[in-house]
């Protein structure tokens, strides 16, 4: 009966409505077909969840760009910043109060990447190296924010222009971010790296100085928690 609810009411416990063929194809042909080919790409609507391209930057040509960066090639820097920044932006945005905070973190992260660029080795994958730096940028940003907030005395209530309320952010993504906010920090960052930045378990383990087994455990706990949260919100 829940499928009826999806099709007729227009959403799955608050999820955006999909047409009937989407669900039919999901069940008949599997998610790869229904999500990637038939369901979303036919609509061409990015805001409603179209993943016409992966969240993950194409890694194959990133190491040569990074090597160019190490050798002082300005063109390589331009390309690298353009290719990696969206992933970093998503990573920071999902945990920031406002888009401006995420921009600050993005800039801070690039300063740190610049200072640490000599520590990258071309034989190693680039994304774990970048995200290891991004992770600590985010942690330090969080600590800085906490420290600042503890010293501030609010004199007026400012309008909340948080990332979650950004006008171009889709409702479903907003909902996803709200769900993520309810996860413990360690689980949230694993889900962000695995599913938002589309990194592999091995890459997340490297980025977090952890082991693959530990990452799997955190991810599975996060899945269980997300199921609970989704159910609690009325599925």
């Amino acid at each position: 009966m829940w499928t009826l609810r999806v099709c007729t009411v227009g959403g799955f416990g608050g999820y955006p409505a999909r047409d009937f063929t989407f669900w039919l194809e999901l069940f008949l042909f599997g998610p790869a077909m229904s999500m990637g080919q038939a369901g979303f790409s036919s609509s061409g609507d990015r805001a409603s969840g179209d993943r016409t391209s992966s969240n993950r930057p194409d890694e194959a040509d990133l190491p040569p760009l990074m090597v160019g960066y190490q050798q002082g090639d300005a063109a390589a820097v331009d390309q690298l910043v353009a290719r990696i920044s969206p992933s970093l932006w998503r990573f920071f945005l999902s945990n920031s109060k406002t888009p401006a905070d995420a921009e600050d973190l993005l800039q801070e992260c690039w300063i740190r990447i610049h200072k640490a660029r000599h520590t990258y080795r071309s034989s190693e994958p680039l994304l774990p190296w970048v995200f290891a730096i991004a992770r600590y940028t985010k942690l330090d940003g969080y600590r800085k924010r906490r420290r600042r907030e503890s010293k501030e005395t609010p004199v007026d209530v400012l309008p909340d222009v948080g990332a979650l309320d950004a006008p171009s952010t889709d409702e479903s993504q907003k909902r996803f971010l709200q769900l993520l906010q309810q996860l413990p920090e360690s689980q949230r960052e694993v889900i962000l790296m695995l599913k938002v930045s589309d990194m592999s378990l091995e890459e997340v383990a490297r980025a977090t100085s952890s082991t693959v087994g530990s990452i799997k455990q955190k991810a599975h706990r996060a899945y269980a928690k997300l199921r609970e949260l989704i159910e609690r919100e009325g599925v």
Binding site: F12, V81, E103
Partner: protein
């Protein structure tokens, strides 16, 4: 029916571990069927796949341009850092050089007091500790390294190894001037650890350590290891109580002080600099 029972929510989670990319997850037929039957899993899949696709082109071009311009200002060629084994070997070599130089200034009265077994046993424990700690430090110098042994585990392995070595290899005797002799060893150990830690810090700062608390603890442990090694050959009171409390105490103290200093500097690291101020 067997296939119906094979895939449940938990095994679906295992399939969620894979990377998804633009065509979604490559879920098995069983998993797909399970998603069709389980509303909770469908909602989770939809949440992870569809909703996690946060908007891509949201980075402000002004910010992006500002980042590249700022980087270009100080864009100079850099020499990549050596590999993890090379860095670990450099740290181990520094350990040996520091130990030899400082030992040359001391009377090595501990060597004749130790038996062959004690000598070999403690050398093995110290060598193992050196390998584990220097590797851990080398991993920490390079972000995104595959750390097969977490840093705190490495420190714990070193501490436990030394403790077991001291407990097993050395006899329990009635303490002779336990406090006075112990404090002397503690003082010498700390005096040795300070310059050692400074040299190891100088070597480690060539990398880009991220967690300064962990780095401080590891540096403290390595500096403490130099102290323990030197006290082992320069102290003639080779009895278990003295070794565990005072020599082991030096290692514990340097590790804790290192961790505290790392935390202190980590708190100061929070930078307020912005590349661009839009407003």
């Amino acid at each position: 029916m067997a296939t119906e029972l094979k895939t449940d929510c938990r095994s679906l989670d295992a399939e969620f571990d894979g990377q998804w990319g633009r065509k979604g997850a490559n879920l098995s037929a069983d998993a797909t069927r399970h998603i069709g039957e389980c509303p909770r899993c469908l909602a989770l899949y939809q949440s992870l796949y569809v909703e996690a696709s946060l908007p891509e082109q949201r980075v402000s071009p002004v910010v992006q341009r500002g980042i590249t311009e700022e980087i270009r200002k100080s864009l100079t060629p850099v020499t990549p850092l050596g590999s993890t084994p090379v860095l670990a070997a450099q740290l181990a070599a520094a350990f040996l050089v520091i130990s030899v130089v400082l030992a040359s200034t001391m009377k090595l009265v501990g060597i004749p007091v130790m038996s062959g077994t004690q000598m070999v046993g403690m050398s093995a424990v110290l060598a193992l500790g050196l390998i584990v700690i220097s590797r851990s430090l080398a991993w920490q110098m390079t972000p995104g390294s595959r750390q097969t042994i977490p840093a705190w585990t490495a420190v714990a392995v070193l501490g436990m190894g030394l403790l077991i070595g001291m407990l097993v290899l050395f006899p329990v005797r009635t303490p002779q001037a336990f406090l006075a002799r112990g404090l002397h060893c503690l003082r010498v150990g700390v005096l040795v650890a300070v310059p050692s830690a400074a040299i190891f810090w100088w070597l480690a700062r060539r990398g880009a350590p991220l967690n300064l608390t962990t780095l401080g603890a590891t540096l403290g442990a390595l500096a403490g290891l130099v102290s323990v090694a030197l006290l082992q050959v320069a102290c003639d009171l080779q009895e278990m109580n003295h070794l565990v409390v005072w020599h082991g105490g030096v290692l514990l103290l340097t590790t804790l002080v290192g961790a505290c200093m790392g935390r202190f500097f980590g708190n100061r690291r929070i930078v307020d600099k912005k590349i661009i101020r839009k407003k």
